[in-house]
Subunit: 321 residues, 2 copies
C-alpha cells in the first residue's frame, strides 16, 4: 500500500524523528519507542496523497502536517493503553508497561506539544482544524468509557463515538493536507468528507476484525473490545440477530461486573457473534462508507494521487480478510 | 492579594467555565471539579497585571490568555497527581481518585485543547510561546522523575528542573499578557524575566513550606516531596549543612527503596532539615529571585498594575510564614 509515496513517507518518519529529538534522552527514547513501533502510517499517507490530489506542488510542504497527525495518533495510543490497562501494543509491551505511567504520560504530552509545533508553522486555521479534532477525540473517548458495559448501545451512538474517536483525526489530517496545497474551501470540505468516511470504514473494519477474526489471522489476540465491555458494530448486529437465548449470553458478557470476564465466556460470545454473519454485514457497512468517501472526491480532477486515495477506499472493506 | 483586579479575575473564571463547557457533561464535570477547586489564581492574575502594566487598554483582551494559562496549569496538576499517586489535591480527592485514571486523562487532554483554542485566537506567535512552555514542562517533569531518590542532586540541576516545571509557564503567561498589549519585543523579554523569576521564587517557597512548615500552618500534610524521593532546595541545603551523621540519615530516606519510606523516618528527616535553618536560607534565595524579578521591570513606567506586580514579588518570600 502507498507505494506511490514510499519515499515521502520516509520523509515523514524523519520529520517525526526530528520533532521528538531533544536533549532529554528519556523523552526522546519513549517517543521513538512508540512512534517507531511499526504503525501502518495510514494517516500520514492520506495527508500526503490528499495534498498531491489537491494539486499541491511540493509534497515536502505537507510532510510536517503528515508527521503531526501521526504523532497525535501515537500520543492517543499511549493514553488509550493506560486507560484500558493494555499491556501489549503492536506486539511489544505498551509504553506504560515499559516505562511506567508517569513517564508515559509526560511522553504523550511531549508528543502533543511536538505535533502542535509542527502544525503551528502553517498558521492559526490549521491549528484550529487539528485542535477541534483533538477536542472531538476527547469527547469520543469519554463517551466510549461511559458506554462501557452498555449492551443497549445504539448504532447511532456507536457511529457518534467512532466518528469522534477515529473519524475526526482522519478528517482533520486530510483537511490540513489539502489546506497546505492552498485548495479553496469547498475542496477542503470535500476532502474532509473523504477523510471522515474512510476513517469510519477503517474503524468499523478494525472493530470487526477484533470480534470476528481469529488471533492467527489478525496477528494479535481477538476479543479485546468485548473483554473491556466495549460494544462495537458486530456486537450491535449480533445483539439483534442472534437467537434469543444467545442474545442474553452476549448481554451478560458485555455487562459483566467481572472485568475482564472469564475467557470461556468471551470465547463463547465471540462464537455467537461470528455465527450471526456479523463480519459480512459489517464489511458491507464499511464498504458503503468507503463508497461515500469516493463520492466525496467525484469532482477532484484525475491524478495518480487521487487513484491511490480511491484504491485505499476500495481496499478498506477487505482489510484483514 | 490581587484586590486591584478582583473583578477581572471573575471574568477569567467565567472564561474558563465557558471554555470547558460542552455537551459532554462528564468532561465538563471533571474539568469544573479541578478548575473550580479553589486554586490561588496566581498565574492568571500575573497575566492580567502584566497586560495592564504594559499599557494594555482593555483588560478583557487579556482574559482568554489568563484563562488559558490557568487551564494548562490545572491540566498538569491532573497528570502530576496520577504520576505521584496523590490522593488529595487542595483538600479534596484528586481527579483520578474521584473519576478514575482514564476519565481524568481525557479531561486533562480536553483542558489542554480548550486552552490552545483560547490562545489560538491571538495568533501563531502566542501559540509558539505557550507551546514552548509546555515542552519545557514535559522536559522538567521527566528530569524530576529521573532524579527521584537522587540525594546527589545539585543546586544547578534543581534550578533547571523548577525553571522548566514552574518558571516556564509563569514566564509564558506573563509574556502572552504583554504581547496581547502589543508591547515591543524588549518589553516582552523583560516581563518574561519577571515571570520566570517570580515563578522560581514561588516554587522555592512551595518546596520550602513542604519541608519546613508544619501541617497545621500549611493546611495540608508536609513532607510530600521527601516521601516521593524528590530532592528540593531545603533538602540540598540540609545535605551540605547538617551534621555528618544526620546527612547520612537524609540520604537514606531520600534514596529509600521503600516508597513512601516509613513515616517515622520522614518525620526524623524533616526535623533534621529544619534544624539546619534551611527555611531561612531558602526564603533568602527566594527573596533574591524576587528582587531580580523586580529589577527586570525597572524600565516599565509606573502604574497601579506595576505596583501590584512589585508587591507580589515582595510578598513571595514571606508566603506561609
Amino acid at each position: 500500500m502507498f507505494d506511490f509515496i514510499t519515499r515521502e513517507l520516509g520523509l515523514v518518519d524523519r520529520a517525526i524523528a526530528r520533532a521528538v529529538e531533544g536533549d532529554e534522552r528519556t523523552l526522546t527514547g519513549i517517543a521513538n519507542y512508540v512512534v517507531g513501533s511499526g504503525g501502518k502510517r495510514v494517516r500520514p499517507a492520506l495527508v500526503l496523497l490528499s495534498y498531491l490530489a489537491a494539486n499541491g506542488e511540493r509534497v515536502r510542504k505537507a510532510v510536517p502536517a503528515a508527521a503531526a497527525i501521526e504523532v497525535i495518533h501515537t500520543a492517543t495510543l499511549i493514553h488509550d493503553d493506560i486507560s484500558d490497562r493494555s499491556e501489549v501494543r503492536r506486539g511489544r509491551p505498551s509504553a506504560h508497561e515499559s516505562f511506567g505511567i508517569g513517564r508515559s504520560l509526560i511522553a504523550a504530552d511531549y508528543l502533543m506539544t511536538a505535533a502542535f509545533k509542527l502544525i503551528s508553522n502553517y498558521g492559526v486555521d490549521f491549528l484550529g482544524t487539528i485542535n477541534s479534532a483533538c477536542m472531538n477525540m476527547a469527547i469520543g473517548e469519554i463517551q466510549d468509557l461511559r458506554h462501557t458495559g452498555n449492551a443497549a448501545l445504539s448504532e447511532k451512538e456507536y457511529f457518534e463515538i467512532i466518528g469522534r474517536k477515529t473519524g475526526a483525526l482522519f478528517e482533520a489530517g486530510v483537511k490540513v493536507g489539502v489546506m497546505a496545497a492552498g485548495a479553496p474551501k469547498p475542496q477542503v470540505a470535500a476532502f474532509g468528507r473523504y477523510g471522515r468516511q474512510v476513517g469510519l470504514a477503517f474503524q468499523i473494519v478494525d472493530d470487526t476484525l477484533d470480534a470476528c477474526s481469529d488471533g492467527k489471522r489478525l496477528g494479535k489476540p481477538v476479543g479485546k473490545d468485548l473483554r473491556e465491555g466495549k460494544v462495537t458494530l458486530p456486537l450491535i448486529f449480533a445483539l439483534s440477530n442472534a437467537p434469543q437465548k444467545d442474545r442474553a449470553i452476549l448481554r451478560r458478557v458485555i455487562a459483566s461486573n467481572k472485568r475482564p470476564p472469564p475467557n470461556a465466556d468471551v470465547a463463547r460470545a465471540l462464537r455467537i457473534v461470528r455465527a450471526t454473519g456479523a463480519e459480512a454485514h459489517c464489511r458491507e457497512v464499511a464498504r458503503k462508507h468507503a463508497e461515500s468517501a469516493k463520492r466525496a472526491l467525484s469532482r477532484v480532477p484525475p491524478s495518480k494521487a487521487k487513484d491511490e486515495l480511491m484504491e485505499f477506499a476500495d481496499d478498506l472493506a477487505q482489510r484483514g480478510r
